[in-house]
Symmetry: C2
C-alpha cells in the first residue's frame, strides 16, 4: 500500500517552489542500514512496483490493491483526474521485485517513489494546489533532476543514506543515471535499463506530437479541466497513448501479434467515424491501441502526461558537464547498462554509448544486450531476461555471473564477425567490498 | 499544366459508382506508339511530376504553375478544400523526369494522373458531387486497384495501349505493382520504388492514429466542413502530417538535421500552449514539423487524407491470389525493386521479399538497394541514387548497367559475409526485344 510523506518546501530546477512537496511511495522488506534499493518507475508507472509485503514502518494511505490485469507496460486502477488521487496500480515489476525474485525483498529494502508531476499521489498537476483546487498547469515544470532530488529528500526522512543500488527502466533509467551524476557518493550500483543519456530526435518528435494531441483537444481547455462538471481531454490523451504503444513495441512484435488481421466480433469497438470504414475493416492492431488508450484515460492525467514527457525529453545526462563521461566521472559505484535489440525507443547503440562513456572515466561498467524483438516493452515483459543480470549485479556488481558485457567477447559466436562493441576489460575489483 | 479528362461512369471496387469520373493529369513528351511511361505519385503527391514541357494534345485547365519550394516530399500551392480544385504543385520529381533526365521526356511520353480520392483535380471528396456541393464523405471509398483501373481508362482515351513502363514510389509503387498484377500484358517494365506488397503493422498503426487525429478534430464535423463559413480540421490534418514526416525520415537523418537544438529566433512559432513551455524550449525539429504541417493544411484536404491512407493501408498485392508470387505470375514484363537502407516506412526487407516473389515465378527482377540514411524521403531527395538505375531500367530492363541486383553478388565486400539476399541469377534476355 502506498504511503505518503511530506518533504517540506521544494524548489524545482525551473526556479519555482511548492510549500510542501508530498511524495507517494512504497517500501518493501526491512532496512538493515546497507541494503536499500531505489527502483525508479517509467513514464506512466507508479510507486506500486511489487505485490511483495510492504515495510511496516509507515501508515498506508490508500485502501485495497487493485490488481486487475493490464496487458501493457503501465499501471491501472484508480481514476486519477481527481484531486490527491493516490492511484493504485498493477504492480508493474512484480516478476522482478519480491521475495526470492531478482530484486529480492527478503534481502533488500526496496523503495519506489511516485515522481513529482505524476498522478499517483505525489504532488503534481491533479493534486491540491495553494488556491483551493488542483494545481493544474500552475504546478512547476519538473525535471528528472527534480525527481532525483525529491527521492533523496524522502530517503533522508526514511533514514537511508547511501543506497546499495538504484535501478530504473526507460525514463526511470535516466532517473537512475541522474543519481550517479548528482549523488556520485551515494550509490553503490546503478542499473540503467532500456534507457539512454538522452532521447533521440525521432522520439523527441513523437513526444511533441503526443503533447500536441492533448493540447489541441478542446477539452484540455488550457489545462483547466478538473472537476466533475468538465470533460477530460480523453481524445487527446488517448492519441498520446496510442503513439506511446507504437514506441513501446517493435515492427517485429507488432507484426507477430497483430499482422494485418481484421478485428473479430467482441473486439473493443470504439471504432472512429472513418467514412471509409463502411468498406474497410477495423484491424486488430487498432483495437489493441484503442482498448489500451481508452483504459489509459481512466487512470492517467493529461497534464501529468505533458509534464512527464517534458521531463523525459529534456533530460540530458551531459548537461552541465559537456559529456556523458564527465557527468559520470565522479561516480564511485558500478554501472550496468541493459539494452534490448528490438528497442527503437531507447536503442542498443545509445546504451553502448553510455557504457563507453562510463568506461572512459573508469567506472566499472557492463553493457548487457538482450536479444529480443519485444521492443521497448521487453524490460517489462521479459523478466526472465532482465531478472538474472539484475540479481547478479545487485549481488556481485559488473562481475555478476549472469552479466555478459558485450565488450568481454568480441566474437561471441565464433563467426569471425566482431560485435562492434567496445573492448572493455571486465573489472574484477568492486570499489565496494561485498 | 494540368489537363482534365472525363472517363465516364466508374464503378469502384467497393461497389459504389460515380456517374462521371474526372481525372486530372499531366503528360510530357510525344507519344510514338511505344514509349509511354506512367508515373504514379505518392500519397499526397499530384500529377505535377515535372516542369518539363507538356504535351500539346490537351487543353490546360489551370493557370500558372506555382513552383514555390517545399522541402518535403509533396506538393504545394493551391488551397484544396474548395470544390474542383485542380491544385498546382511543386514538380515533385523534376530532378528525375524531364528532358535529358533519367525518365527522359524527349524519349518517353510520360503521363501522371492524380488518383481518384485525392484533391488535385481528380474526382474525390472535395470535388463537386451529385447533390450540388462537394462529395465529402459520400465519395466512394477508393482502392489502389481503383487508381490502376482509372489510369487504364484514361490511357485508353489518350490512345495508349501497352505501356513501356510504370514507375512509382511509396504507395505509387503499390500502384505500379498493381499494374503488373491487374494488367500483366500491358506493361513492359515496372519500377517499384521504396514500396512493398503491403504495409506492415507498425505503419498501419501510425496511419490509423493519423486518421484518428483528423476524425477527432471537432472541425472535421463528420467530414462536412466544406464552404467558406466552416473551419477546416487543420489541427487534425496537421497532426497527421507531423506523423507522416516522422515516417518519411529516419532516426539518423532526423538526428543529423535537427539533433536536440532549440529553435532560434525566426523559427516557425506556432508553438503549442504547452504549460511547461515556460521553462522548456521549442525545438528545431518541432519547428520543422509544425511549419510543414501548417503548410500542408493549406494544400491538402483532410477527407482526401483519410481516403488515400485507407487505400494505402488496404493494398495487398497478394489479395485474390494467395501470395505475391502468384499475383505476379502472369506478368509478362520485368520488375525493378528499388529500396533504401534507411527507410523504415517501406523497408529493404519488404522490397527483397517482393523481388524474391517475382523471381520465384520467373519474372526478370532486380532488387537494387541504395545505401542511404534519408529514410523514406530518399526516393525524392536522392535523384542521384534513383535516377541512374531508373534510366537504365527503362532502356535495358533489369540488365541495365547502373542496376546492381543484390542477388548478383552474395559477398559484395569480399568479407565472407553473405548479404542474405537471394541468389537470383541475372536474366539476360528481355521478353520484350528492345
Amino acid at each position: 500500500m502506498t504511503a505518503m510523506e511530506s518533504v517540506g518546501e521544494f524548489r524545482f530546477e525551473c526556479g519555482e517552489s511548492v510549500d510542501d512537496l508530498r511524495l507517494a511511495y512504497e517500501a518493501y522488506g526491512e532496512f538493515d542500514g546497507d541494503n536499500a534499493v531505489l527502483v525508479c518507475h517509467a513514464l506512466t508507472g507508479s510507486q506500486h512496483v511489487s505485490n511483495a509485503p510492504r515495510s511496516e514502518d509507515h501508515e498506508p494511505v490508500t485502501g485495497e490493491n487493485d490488481d486487475t490485469g493490464d496487458e501493457d507496460n503501465a499501471v491501472d486502477g484508480a481514476a486519477t483526474t481527481g484531486v490527491q488521487t493516490a492511484g493504485q496500480a498493477r504492480a508493474w515489476w512484480d516478476d522482478v521485485v519480491g521475495p526470492g525474485k531478482a530484486i529480492d525483498t527478503t534481502e533488500y529494502y526496496v523503495v519506489c517513489v511516485n515522481v513529482p508531476g505524476s498522478c499517483y499521489g505525489s504532488s503534481g498537476p491533479p493534486t491540491e494546489g495553494p488556491d483551493d483546487g488542483p494545481w493544474g498547469t500552475e504546478f512547476p515544470p519538473v525535471t528528472v533532476g527534480d525527481w532525483t532530488r525529491a527521492q533523496r529528500r524522502l530517503l533522508d526522512r526514511l533514514g537511508v543514506g547511501r543506497l546499495h543500488a538504484v535501478v530504473g527502466g526507460s525514463v526511470g533509467g535516466m532517473n537512475a543515471l541522474d543519481w550517479a551524476k548528482r549523488y556520485p557518493d551515494d550509490v553503490r550500483r546503478v542499473a540503467a535499463v532500456a534507457t539512454a543519456g538522452r532521447l533521440d530526435t525521432q522520439c523527441l518528435s513523437l513526444d511533441a506530437i503526443a503533447r500536441r494531441a492533448i493540447t489541441t483537444d478542446p477539452d484540455w481547455n488550457g489545462g483547466d479541466y478538473y472537476g466533475a462538471d468538465r470533460p477530460n481531454p480523453d481524445d487527446g490523451l488517448a492519441q498520446a497513448r496510442r503513439l506511446g504503444h507504437v514506441m513501446y513495441l517493435s515492427k517485429a512484435s507488432m507484426g507477430r501479434k497483430f499482422g494485418r488481421r481484421a478485428a473479430g466480433r467482441g473486439a473493443f469497438d470504439d471504432a472512429p467515424a472513418d467514412p471509409t470504414g463502411r468498406f474497410f475493416p477495423y484491424r486488430e492492431v487498432e483495437s489493441y491501441l484503442d482498448y489500451n488508450a481508452d483504459s489509459f484515460t481512466t487512470r492517467f492525467d493529461a497534464n501529468s502526461y505533458l509534464y512527464l514527457t517534458r521531463a523525459m525529453d529534456e533530460y540530458d545526462l551531459a548537461a552541465g558537464y559537456g559529456s556523458d563521461a564527465e557527468a559520470l566521472a565522479a561516480f564511485e559505484g558500478e554501472l550496468l547498462a541493459l539494452s534490448f535489440t528490438g528497442d527503437w525507443h531507447f536503442t542498443v547503440e545509445q546504451s553502448r554509448a553510455l557504457a563507453d562513456a562510463a568506461g572512459d572515466v573508469d567506472v566499472p561498467t557492463a553493457h548487457h544486450v538482450v536479444d529480443s524483438d519485444h521492443g521497448h516493452d521487453a524490460f517489462l515483459v521479459e523478466p526472465e531476461s532482465v531478472g538474472p543480470p539484475l540479481r547478479d549485479f545487485l549481488r556481485d556488481g559488473v562481475d555478476g555471473r549472469a552479466i555478459r558485457d558485450e565488450g568481454e567477447d568480441d566474437d561471441p559466436d565464433g563467426s569471425g564477425i566482431h560485435s562492434g562493441g567496445p573492448d572493455r576489460a571486465p573489472v574484477h575489483a568492486s570499489l565496494f567490498p561485498g
